[in-house]
Amino acid sequence: MKKSLTVLVLSLLMSNMAHANSILNKNSANKFIQDFYSAIKKHDYKKLDLMVADNAKIKWHLLKMEQTFTLSKVDYLQQIKANWHFASQENFELKDINYTTTQEGLSGTLSLKMIESKDILGEKSSQEHIMEMDLVIADDMIKLSALKTKTTF
């Protein structure tokens, strides 16, 4: 009886710890965004695939053209991967990061400015992105569920 009670308490503690790892707050959201761009720089497709929710919607608003493109997760990750093939010296500068909670511990929105620079197709390219990233807890981890970006692309 004593033994089974100990096992129960231990498993409860462990489950709480696991849950604690995936609570969404300002710190974990900040860590998420740093990890996300680090995975892009390291060409870690598996990690990115896990970090983006399957039904994520990505909206790219092109400022010059005043036009929006809606991409699925598949479209978005394909573009990231194609960039790996053609681009080098990729760098992401993240600025003005703000986190807003929408549902305590479960969902929130990160807003930030990202300056992307790279050498691509024989040219040096620099683009500014004003971004809003919706984050949620899914499968016991933080995932990107929506991305809206206004870009000079």
Binding site: T68, F69, D75, Q78, H85
Partner: protein
Amino acid sequence: MNSLFNTVFGRAKRRYLAIMAYTFMLLANTAQAQTFCVFDVLGVQGPFYGTMLEYSTIARKWGVKLDLKPYTNEEKAVEDFNSGVCDLISITGIRARDFNLFSSSIEAIGGINNDAQMKSVIETIARPEAAKLMMQDGYEIAGVLPIGGVYLFLNDRSINSVEKIKGKKIAILAHDLVQLRLAERLGFQALAADIDDFAIKFNQGNADILPAPAIAYMPLELFKGVGNKGLVLKMPISYLSLQVLLRSDKFPANYGQKSRTYFTSMFDSLLKPTRQAEQEILYFFPAPDGEYDNYQALLRDARISMTKEGIYDAKMMTLLKKVRCKNEPNRAECTDGKE
């Protein structure tokens, strides 16, 4: 007892003679190998040649020996088929038009929107009930293989609507009447090119738009033409196919059906190179928000008028619409009877 012996022996004798006759017939059919002219821009190193080499080993099991002859020039392959040098030929759907309008119309503008629809159409036309439609004037389509969607490669992403696309210079293959009519219908300014300078015209900036399949992207370096200011519209305007065509009198009956069934079963593996090529395309975006329906309407109008002119086969158009509407029942076209 004697009569029973004679009956049994007589039956065995007749059976023996029948087997011998059948064997002689098979030998007569296979004694001379059939020449299979295979078009592949990359010659014997190309993926289509490899596919056909594999197919020839399967054909052997059906009692037909195929001698493969590679062609990097499709026009020459067709000439040789017409003059009797080849008994079987694999060519693009565009060229198959002269031999079977029904099967070549699978490539109709806006007819197929994704791989699942292409698979469904190929499966349907490979059924024995559709065999008659695959035969015409002594020729038979012995297989339809998917090459993948044709995408619009643009050198400027400000060409971002149906209105802005009109009047732009598009590189098209000069030998293809369908492309020429299509360019007129869609309001493009057609720039005739041959297969050798088709991509060069786009990469050097002489053409604003190039319609091409994903498998052409890396070999023809189309990323140079798109550059950092262009875009590839992730919305196939048509689906390309490779078609295997035979002279009916040179093959055993039912060979064509076996062959069509074989190629249909290979659909997913045949499409693998295309799926890989699609992964490599940079700036590969769907139509801008609010523009998809406009593009679809434009393609549809062109398709309907080209069917009326006899450029596309009406039966195939009906089948394509059924497949589109089964796959995407909410399409606006599914509630009208225009096709």
